[in-house]
């Protein structure tokens, strides 16, 4: 043994250097795993090095925490439940090291556990309690014991009130970041107190709270506030804003989307002092007229403006064109009233635009695309979804002029193979969405496969002309592909899956409605794509239990699966229970599924968090079983949608529900 130790060259390397190597490996979990399995000393080094942990089940916590003593960040989001016992274990074993803990989406812990955590882990600075809808004020009183807390997220904690927020405000004086989105019970008083007590606040998310201007005056006195989100605060209106002399001077980002009561009269009160404003979101608000746009004329630091869903006038857009600032990001998604003239006047002035979203601007034509591509050559992201008046020739311009594009959304457009040929010149492209592009064929995609080697995400939803050769070209040309959607591409066969099995990074595969693929193709993917986490094979009638067995064996990272309308039976499902990550399962309309088999499957898959089942099973499964599973952290969604008639291929566009993947 001794000799062996001397032979190991890594013994001569300082631990810090190995740590640096591990830091570089950090992105690849498999690599880290392999490293730790080399030898005992590597194992020990890796145990010391790891500082963040994302366990799947709370049952493993004791072993994990004793193996990794230096955990600073604990992410419990994958655990279907976290009991108080686990929390007190955490609070004992990571008493001094733990700095951040994430409970979002994790139900079933009580005030007591939180209190233990807050009292024992003195150095904790970040707690995420999002989606704890049952969380009561008393739990916040426990959180308030964490005196060093800087970051707290309470999104969707619907049961908390001003009292709890008041406790946090008094207890956690160092708080810098707090998210109270959808905490409907919190009003002016709680927020006002928060602003009075926590002077260091720099991020404040108050979306959808029933607050009025009463708390705004104390918020405006916060010296360090940089980001303020007031989305959907309907109680804030022009008249009351007028009283406010000036908003926060330090403000850098403001979101007042869906605040329909804030117009050009009230907006200046919020932003007048904030000359450093960089980001402004006015989505779904009052119409963007020249008077509204005029409010922002002098904000020279402004970089990003989002006007999604607003009514936009030409004058408004022209005024935006005259701003001091040079915008980097502009979103006009689903804006009514955007015309060629208005859009051109904006893009010709803001030539530095990096991101432009003109989704569903249905009035714009080729002229807009021409002026966009002409002026904004440094665009990295362009979303042109459903701009139906834009002809196929215009897409050539995008490829010709915007070579820096990384993200391109052409869903539901007239783009054709020629357009794709030019778009393949964008060698940086990582995300390409070509859903419902009925004019594209294999030819165009072969160009993409040759030109865009950095492609990570490809959406071909219902681009029906696509066949195996296109997928082959993509799989060969884009080795980094992580996500592909081939839903309803009816000519796709097992050969496509075989070629995709050569993409080792593939995480998401959607082949819904590809009725030609079989278990054989699925097996190839399972073997080749170890990282697969999401799989949707709904309506793949030829996939049966034979496809499940390799999945169960090889796809140990699989987290979400949709098997509706396939030919899988009890046996195939039961085999899936060996995938410990599996959390989300949709199993509707499985002919071979029996109540007894289902019960066995549900019991065997210990990590399940969400199961979509037909409503008929609700009465066929023993009530006690359902209760037990629910107590284990599994949520049931009972669907009683009757099997739809086969859609008429001509009218599927109208079936908006089905449009959503």
């Amino acid at each position: 043994m001794k000799k062996q130790k001397q032979d190991n060259p890594f013994n001569l390397v300082a631990e810090e250097i190995i740590f640096i190597i591990l830091d570089l490996l950090n992105r690849n979990s498999l690599a880290i795993k392999s490293f730790s399995l080399v030898c005992k000393s590597f194992y020990a080094v890796e145990s010391k090095h790891r500082c963040s942990l994302k366990p799947l089940r709370q049952e493993r916590l004791p072993a994990l925490l004793s193996r990794y003593p230096n955990i600073t960040h604990l992410d419990l989001t994958l655990c279907s439940r976290v009991s108080d016992a686990s929390l007190s274990l955490v609070s004992h074993s990571c008493a001094s090291s733990l700095r951040s803990i994430d409970f979002s989406r994790t139900p079933l812990f009580s005030t007591y556990g939180l209190l233990r955590l807050a009292l024992n882990c003195k150095n904790i600075v970040e707690i995420d309690l999002s989606n704890a809808t049952e969380l009561k004020d008393s739990a916040l009183a426990a959180v308030a014991e964490a005196k060093n807390l800087e970051k707290l997220s309470l999104a969707r904690c619907k049961s908390i009130t001003d009292m709890g927020v008041g406790c946090v405000a008094v207890g956690c004086r160092k708080l810098r970041f707090i998210c109270l989105k959808w905490c409907f019970g919190v009003g002016d008083l709680g927020i006002g107190l928060l602003a009075v007590k926590c002077k260091h606040l720099c991020f404040l998310d108050l979306s959808y709270l029933p607050i009025t201007n009463k708390c705004l005056s104390s918020i405006s006195k916060l010296q360090h506030l940089e980001e303020l989100i007031l989305e959907g605060c309907f109680g804030i209106e022009d008249d009351s804003l007028a009283v406010l002399k000036h908003g926060c001077n330090s403000l850098k980002s403001l979101d007042v989307s869906t605040c329909q009561n804030i117009s050009h009269n009230g907006l200046p009160s919020l932003i007048n002092g904030a000359l450093g404003l960089r980001q402004l979101t006015l989505a779904h608000g009052s119409p963007v007229t020249s008077s509204l746009a005029d409010c922002l004329r002098k904000h020279s630091m402004l970089q990003s403006v989002k006007l999604d869903g607003c009514f936009v006038t030409d004058d408004g857009l022209k005024t935006i064109g005259n701003w001091c600032a040079s915008l980097r990001e502009l979103s006009l998604s689903k804006c009514l009233g955007v015309t060629d003239e208005g859009l051109s006047s904006v893009v010709t002035k803001h030539r530095d635009l990096r991101k432009l979203d003109i989704t569903c601007c249905r009035k714009i034509t080729d002229a807009s695309i021409a002026s966009i591509t002409n002026s904004c050559k440094s665009l990295t992201s362009l979303r042109v979804e459903s701009c139906t008046l834009v002809t196929r020739e215009a897409f050539v311009l995008i490829g010709q002029r915007c070579h820096l594009l990384e993200e391109l959304d052409l869903t539901d457009n007239e783009v054709d193979d020629k357009g794709l040929k030019y778009i393949s010149r964008c060698s940086e492209l990582s995300s390409l969405k070509l859903g419902i592009c009925l004019n594209i064929t294999d030819e165009g995609l072969i160009h993409i496969g040759k030109g865009c080697s950095k492609l990570v995400e490809l959406d071909l939803y219902r681009s029906e002309e696509i066949t195996d050769s296109a997928i082959l070209a993509i799989a060969q040309g884009c080795p980094g592909l992580e996500m592909i959607n081939m839903a309803y591409c009816k000519y796709i066969t097992d050969r496509s899956l075989l070629s995709l099995s050569k993409c080792p990074q593939l995480k998401t595969l959607e082949s819904r409605g590809c009725s030609l693929i079989t278990s054989l193709g699925l097996k190839a993917v399972a073997v080749g794509c170890k990282e697969l986490t999401k799989l949707d094979i709904k309506k793949c009638h030829n996939i049966d239990d034979a496809g499940m067995l390799p999945l169960a064996r090889f796809s140990q990272n699989l987290r979400q699966i949709n098997l509706s309308h396939s030919s899988v039976t009890d046996i195939g499902l039961l085999s899936l229970s060996s995938i410990s990550c599996l959390q989300n399962m949709t199993i509707l309309h499985l002919k071979g599924l029996t109540p007894a088999g289902l019960a066995a499957v549900l019991l065997a898959c210990g990590g399940l968090k969400k199961v979509k089942l037909q409503a008929t099973f609700r009465w066929l499964l023993p009530l006690r079983l359902v209760q037990y599973l629910e107590s284990r952290g599994c949520m049931f969604q009972w669907k009683d949608k009757v099997l739809q008639e086969k859609l008429d291929p001509k009218c599927w566009k109208l079936q908006l529900e089905d449009l959503m993947p």
Binding site: R81, S83, D84, A85, P107, L108, F109, S110, T111, Y112, G113, L115, E134, K136, D137, S138, A139, A141, A142, A144, E145, D162, M163, G164, G166, C167, V170, G171, L189, G190, G192, L193, V196, K197, Q627, E630, S631, R632, G633
Partner: protein, 445 residues
Amino acid sequence: MLSDNRIKAPVQDGVVNQLVQASKVQDWDPSAMLDNLSFLEQKIHQLQDLVHLIIGRKGQVLGRPDELVVQQQQLVTADLTSIIVQLISTAGSLLPSGKHTLPAATPSLEQSGQFGGVVFPSAQGPLNDGFQPQNAGGSKVSGLPNSVDISRKNGNEQNHIIEEHELKDEEDVEEGESLIPGTYEILQLEKEEILAPHTHFCTICGKGFKRDANLRMHMRGHGDEYKTPGALAKPNKESGSEPTIIKRYSCPYTGCKRNKDHKKFQPLKTILCVKNHYKRTHCDKSYICSRCNTKKFSVIADLKTHEKHCGKDKWLCSCGTTFSRKDKLFGHIALFQGHTPAIPLEEAKAPAGPSDQGDGNQSTNKVGSMNFNFSSNVSSESEVQSSTDIKGSIDDPAGYFSPLSFDTCNFGGFHEFPRPPFDDSESSLAFLLSGSCNYPQKSED
């Protein structure tokens, strides 16, 4: 009117002197006093101007009929009377100890004539000197029995006490009194008299009034003879030169402990006691609290007091202070360092997850106890608390929450002061007595 012996000096020596004297007395509100004095100053200046005017006119229009002279005289006298009354009330607020002993030991002035003569020998003399007109007043106007006349002076003062401060335990207070049967006169009013809304009636037009003072004000409209200072002044029937028989009251309800035929008869002290006792004990409770819709009262003042404090939500601070309104609690917390909202206990017992059945029970128990600890920690750790305590009696929460002490601690009688006294004689008197009533609680020793 115990204060009168002290007030005599200020009347003669002037306002400044009064201030000097006043400063010797503890427990008075200087700012209210100052307001009051400046008001007086204004009044005096007005009167001065008036007299100047009269002098000037005398020079101009000589030989006018005597009527004018009489009118002017009346005007001046009325103004002077108002100033004097104002002065008395000002000085009255300075006499805590005297005020204290008066209502507790000697419930009515009649008694002070008897007992008080010993304790404050000088009390009666100066009073009569300074306020001659008072003796002259007091023409019997009401057709009510003798007993009601007593209430003319004391009854309406007592009324104020009740309405302002809700001496609910007044019946209890007098229980301590042990008068030997036979040493006092027992009066019994009929039910109709007790429930009558008005006790003072105008002999000319028949209009009814709750207070004698209001009636006197009303009488002015019936002719000049009612405008004389004597007619306007407070009737002071028993001048105190001869001792009066103590009067006690019996409830007309047979079988009641307060009825004179009861074996353990306990008399009621004043007319007001009779009224409130009868309404509370033998009448329907027709006033319902609009907030909780459950509490009922037969005396409207009781309802008002209850409504002040009614509210299902008691907003509680970690220091133990409760607030009837949430915004008040948050204002309090925003102001004081270390104070934090206290979460009610029942809520603190969060449901343990159904899966935690193993340690579920245990943990819920702990939650409760932890929470106790938790809140007590908070209150003890905040050393600021002691300095910022507004109310001193937090150690005794039971006493703290009782509405009576809450009332007396929080609301002094001074709120209503700055009103000009003669515009509404009621309110000026209210001030006088509410102020006096406020003190006893503070200077218990």
